[in-house]
């Protein structure tokens, strides 16, 4: 039973885990509908992330952090 303690701001030694970052940048953030010239806002970003991650799951698991 362990808790991974994050490095505080300014003392970050380690990159954040990609999977945790993608949770946030693909499912979070402000979405402004309608005005973005490119239609990417209409695409289900969560679906994109799942497809991208699952299809490359082996690669990601083997990737050194």
């Amino acid at each position: 039973m362990t808790v991974v303690q994050p490095a505080g701001p300014g003392s970050r030694q380690e990159q954040v885990a990609l999977v945790d970052l993608l949770d946030r940048v693909l499912a979070g953030g402000v979405v402004v509908a309608g005005e973005v010239t490119l239609s990417i806002a209409d695409v289900d970003m969560v679906t994109i992330s799942v497809r991208a991650l699952v299809s490359s799951a082996g690669t990601l698991a083997a990737r050194p952090r």
Binding site: M1, T2, V3, V4, Q5, P6, P9, Q15, V16, A17, L18, V19, D20, L21, L22, D23, R24, V25, L26, A27, G28, G29, V30, V31, V32, A33, G34, E35, V36, T37, L38, S39, I40, A41, V43, M45, V46, I48, S49, R51, A52, L53, V54, S55, S56, A57, G58, T59, L60, A61
Partner: protein, 260 residues
């Protein structure tokens, strides 16, 4: 600007006197600029539409190496900008045709964006993931041992049924504990969101992820929140917890849909 260029938007914040972000570069190594309108500043960079236009973007988002590079670049700009003041991050791959499109968006969404910034001012996001501590086999084994008798078909079936039911109970109990944990941590935070549990192949843990939660916590209460997580580690031995953060408030940004 050239007709092959688009504008990638990282985040929006209130206009401040010296908004300089010269130490970080953006996606594809581009220089960070700003667009100001309606008392708001959008943090932007120019992107090549041959790579970031709608169709290539769709394709590139499926490429994990590309996605990782872009996501990390986006994050490093958002994080650097967040050290200078409160902001709302934009979702990855928010691309406008030109700077005036960004300025129009700032003006049209002025009230919504100001309210969004108010909501996260002085607050950061902390992630807490909960996994089952270990495989829920023990209870099943004990039940099976009690039932171990003559090696008849009926005995085998009974034993098997007891094993399955015990592991189901263990799973149900762990899920119940995760719900209680989430309720407790929500009480120590100003807002909470649940992300989908991560796939075991991606989470780096063989154990089932029961909860992938994230909490909006006031900076002055961050130590208290972390203490609440530490206490939960002691109180919920059936769960293994991972704390991440602090993050810019990605999961607490508004969307147009939620306002409709």
């Amino acid at each position: 600007m050239s007709e092959t260029g688009g504008i990638w938007v990282y985040a929006v914040r209130r206009s401040v006197p010296s908004p300089r972000l010269t130490l970080v570069s953006g996606v594809a190594g581009a220089a960070i600029k700003t667009v100001q309108a309606a008392g708001l500043t959008a943090v932007i960079s120019e992107v090549d539409l041959a790579e970031f236009g709608a169709e290539p973007l769709r394709r590139n988002l499926e490429d994990l190496d590309w996605l990782e590079a872009v996501a990390r670049a986006h994050h490093s700009v958002v994080e650097a900008a967040a050290t200078q003041g409160p902001l709302v991050p934009m979702r990855l791959a928010t691309v406008y045709g030109d700077q005036s499109g960004v300025a129009d968006m700032l003006a049209a969404r002025r009230a919504l964006i100001h309210a969004g910034i108010d909501r996260v001012t002085g607050r950061m996001e902390w992630g807490v993931k909960a996994f089952a501590s270990d495989a829920p086999a023990q209870a099943g084994d004990e039940a099976a041992a009690e039932l171990a008798g003559p090696a008849s078909g009926v005995a085998y079936l009974n034993r098997r049924r007891a094993q399955l039911s015990a592991s189901e109970k263990a799973r149900g109990r762990a899920a119940y504990l995760a719900e209680r944990l989430h309720a407790e941590l929500s009480g120590a935070a100003e807002a909470a969101e649940l992300h989908r549990p991560q796939d075991p192949q991606l989470s780096g843990s063989a154990n089932t992820m029961l909860m992938n939660a994230t909490y909006l916590v006031g900076d002055r209460h961050a130590a208290g929140f972390r203490a609440a997580v530490d206490q939960a580690v002691q109180r919920y031995p059936a769960l293994r917890l991972q704390l991440t953060g602090p993050w810019p408030p990605y999961s607490f940004a508004f969307t147009d849909a939620s306002q409709a």
